[in-house]
Amino acid sequence: MSTLNRTTLFPALAALLIPAAIGMVFFYAPLERTMGSVQKIFYFHLPLAFSAFLSFTVACIAGIMYLRKRQRIWDARLAASIEIGVVFTTLVLITGSLWGKPIWNTYWTWDPRLTTSLILWFIFASCLILRSAIDEEGKRATFSAVMAIIGFIDVPIVFLSARLWRSIHPTVIRTDSIGLESSMIVTLLVSMTAMLIFWVGLYKFRVALHLQEAKVNDLQTDGIR
């Protein structure tokens, strides 16, 4: 099929896999003994959190690459990953709060992981505000690259300093074992794959969009000259 080119391949795959993952979450994965159906949000929460963290890692790498190479493509990658990262972190915070209310009896607590996600959200949302405040392309790219890098450096410090408080977040995946039923692991893997493919699809769309925007901008300024 000629319409199924490289840009639409990942969204098409995600359109198949995400409904499949939802189906598995509700009909294949067993009901958790103490938490019941509330636990099912975990199959979206963890992949979302993982993809959000992936976006900020990509943003940091793209920032470093932009400062080294000064190529427009790296700025497009940086912008795309920050945008997706902010959206995904928002969803992580929402899904986490929805789970926390029945299980922890509170929507919010100052747990290291919660604190880290919230501060990450603040840092990278401020990056988006910064981008909207600058019109010159080169300056916008340089400044947001610097912010993306120091924002990423801040993450381990935030996590370590928040650990000095207390933690009630469940550690499901440890280094020695996974505290899950095997059918739960399969469901988790499927939804993780679906989410990552969805992430790649979104990312490719946004990168292409940013590049096109820059090209249109070039044409407009050339026209004025």
Partner: protein, 226 residues
């Protein structure tokens, strides 16, 4: 050695301007005092605060007032195109960064000489006066705030919305430092010895080291006008 001399020269230049105009320092001390008075009223007149609330109040006043001084550090250079002149002069961008960090560090320290006594006058009735335990906390926050803030203010001064963007970009980054400082300060105000506060002081020092290095490396990109 000559690098040290250049930093000292730049620092002297900025401090001399500040000494003659006194614009940053006066507004920092005034605004900080204003915040302290407002929080005192908000707390309920005549009501005492405990160590934890007191620590929070002190740091809100210091951090918010310091942003005023920080915003001026580069805005002043941008106004007359002095950044270009600074970059043309035989100093490296890293030296400019260190000098500006020290300027801001000094301004914060001078403003705190006013704010901490005012804080004790307004809130200190039940708090332990522990200036010697408070000092290392103040110095570490000043350093961390200045290293991060100098980098961020170079960025925000390059945009058209300097005053709005500076706190938006800076506060999320220094949130861990502020949280640790509040915890350490509440310990100091509750008359804990300095050794009991090492759990907070060590990560604060780590924050300063990490952001001094990051700022030194990234500052050349933030200051260059292209």
């Amino acid at each position: 050695m000559s690098s040290l001399r250049q930093v000292r020269f730049l620092l002297g230049k900025d401090l001399r301007i500040e000494l003659r105009k006194k614009e940053s320092l006066v507004s920092m001390a005034f605004f900080g005092t204003l915040i302290l008075v407002m929080l005192n009223i908000a707390n309920g007149i005549g009501r005492q605060v405990d160590a934890e609330t007191g620590a929070g109040i002190l740091w809100v006043a210091i951090i918010f007032s310091s942003v005023l001084g920080l915003g001026r550090v580069f805005a002043r250079e941008k106004e007359n195109g002095c950044v270009a002149a600074l970059l043309l002069s035989p100093v490296t961008a890293g030296e400019i960064y260190l000098a500006k960090t020290l300027v801001n560090f000094t301004l914060m320290l001078l403003a705190e000489l006013v704010l901490v006594p005012v804080f004790y006058v307004l809130f200190g009735a039940q708090l332990n006066a522990a200036p010697l335990t408070l000092l290392p906390i103040l110095l570490l926050v000043n350093l961390g705030f200045s290293t991060t803030g100098t980098l961020v203010s170079a960025i925000s001064a390059g945009t058209r919305r300097n005053e709005v963007l500076l706190p938006i970009l800076l506060f999320p980054l220094i949130l861990p430092l502020t949280a640790l400082a509040v915890k350490a300060t509440s310990g100091a105000l509750a008359a804990k010895p300095l050794t009991a506060l090492l759990d907070q002081l060590e990560p604060m020092a780590a924050f300063c080291v990490v952001f001094t290095a990051a700022g030194y490396l990234l500052f050349p990109f933030a200051i260059r006008e292209d």
